[in-house]
């Protein structure tokens, strides 16, 4: 049994487990449309690791290999982005202003919620950068003296929420064009939201990838005044 335990530390374990759970999650999603594949996949993995008492460090040896492909895949967003740039040239300004307005609204609402609940300053800062792509969010959290790894966790959870409920929420408010869905989901739920759109519509994915990189840029720029102003405001 102990030999079998050691197997969990082999990279192939994490890779096989992740891809297996993902393939199963895609099947579940085909049967039940409302079942988000990433939610089902990570849910299965978490339960399995907890039940079998496998340390996260062991799993992540393979997990890191799977995560690596996020790099070239983000670069691959250039393909739908290029295609939509050819058609949406007239809309660039609308998207840019929308992304900036949405990012600022997110910062304000996020702060208000923390204040309303009487949360700590550190928690406020840790929660602020979460709508942008994970590496930028972690970097911003460090700059503002937040808890960077925890910001990473909030960022992926935000992406998952936006990916699960974003398109339905937009439809509820009558927003249903490729342009508005792509821009809104890319800004609110970065790569995880974009990943969901990429399964459904190339046009939406292109705009979403563009909005995601733009919101990363906007937040990085906002990080500079925030770093100066937050310590004064929160003192």
């Amino acid at each position: 049994m102990s030999e079998l335990r050691d197997l969990a530390g082999e990279p192939v374990f994490g890779v096989a487990l992740t891809i297996g759970a993902y393939a199963l999650a895609l099947r579940l999603n085909r049967r039940w449309k409302w079942m988000h594949p990433l939610f089902a996949c990570t849910g299965m993995l978490i339960v399995l690791l907890l039940v079998a008492d496998i340390p996260y460090e062991d799993y992540s040896k393979g997990g890191e290999i799977v995560s690596f492909f996020l790099g070239p895949t983000t670069v691959a967003l250039a393909v739908p982005l290029y295609k939509s740039l050819l058609t949406m040239r007239r809309r660039l300004k609308a998207i840019a202003v929308g992304v900036a307005a949405g990012s600022v609204a997110g910062l304000c609402v996020s702060s208000l919620v923390v204040l309303a609940f009487g949360g700590s300053k550190e928690l406020l800062i840790t929660l602020l950068p979460k709508s942008v792509t994970t590496p930028i969010a972690i970097e911003l959290s460090k700059q503002l003296a937040g808890n960077a790894p925890l910001t990473g966790v909030f960022t992926v959870l935000t992406g998952l929420l936006g990916s699960m409920f974003g398109p339905a929420l937009l439809r509820l408010f009558g927003l249903r064009s490729d342009l508005t869905i792509g821009a809104a989901v890319g800004t609110a739920a970065h790569g995880i939201g974009t990943g969901r759109l990429a399964r459904e519509s190339e046009a939406q994915a292109g705009i979403s990838g563009f909005a995601m990189s733009l919101s990363g840029l906007v937040m990085s720029l906002l990080g500079i005044p925030l770093a100066i102003w937050l310590p004064i405001w929160l003192r």
Partner: protein, 117 residues
């Protein structure tokens, strides 16, 4: 395979650019912007990488799974303030989503106009 090679090359170029210029964007996002520029300028042909890109993008969500599983390590931190965190995550996600959506719709002259991109 040529497609994958091109994508990795641009990922590398993006990482190099980040190191050189200290731009506040991750290497993969810079790589995406560089590759888009190269496609627009005709330096890279779409047919070289379209198939590889389609495969990777179709399964983009898979590559996020291990990071999300990492939430396990923070269960106790989250548990202490779970109400605040749950409300915060959902409400701010929804506000970014809707403010962006409404602004884009307004500036592109309404939903029917936006439909015509």
């Amino acid at each position: 395979m040529a497609g994958i090679a091109v994508l990795l090359l641009y990922h590398l170029l993006g990482a190099a650019l980040r190191e050189l210029l200290h731009v506040p964007l991750p290497g993969n996002v810079l790589g995406m912007l560089l590759l888009t520029l190269s496609l627009l300028l005709g330096w890279v042909k779409l047919r070289w990488l379209e198939e590889s890109a389609r495969f990777l993008l179709k399964h983009m969500m898979l590559f996020f799974a291990p990071t999300i599983v990492g939430v396990i390590a923070y269960f106790s931190d989250i548990g202490r303030h779970w109400m605040l965190i749950a409300v915060n995550l959902f409400v701010s996600m929804a506000s970014v989503l809707l403010v962006t959506g409404w602004t884009v719709r307004k500036l592109s002259g309404g939903e029917e106009e936006a439909e015509r991109v």
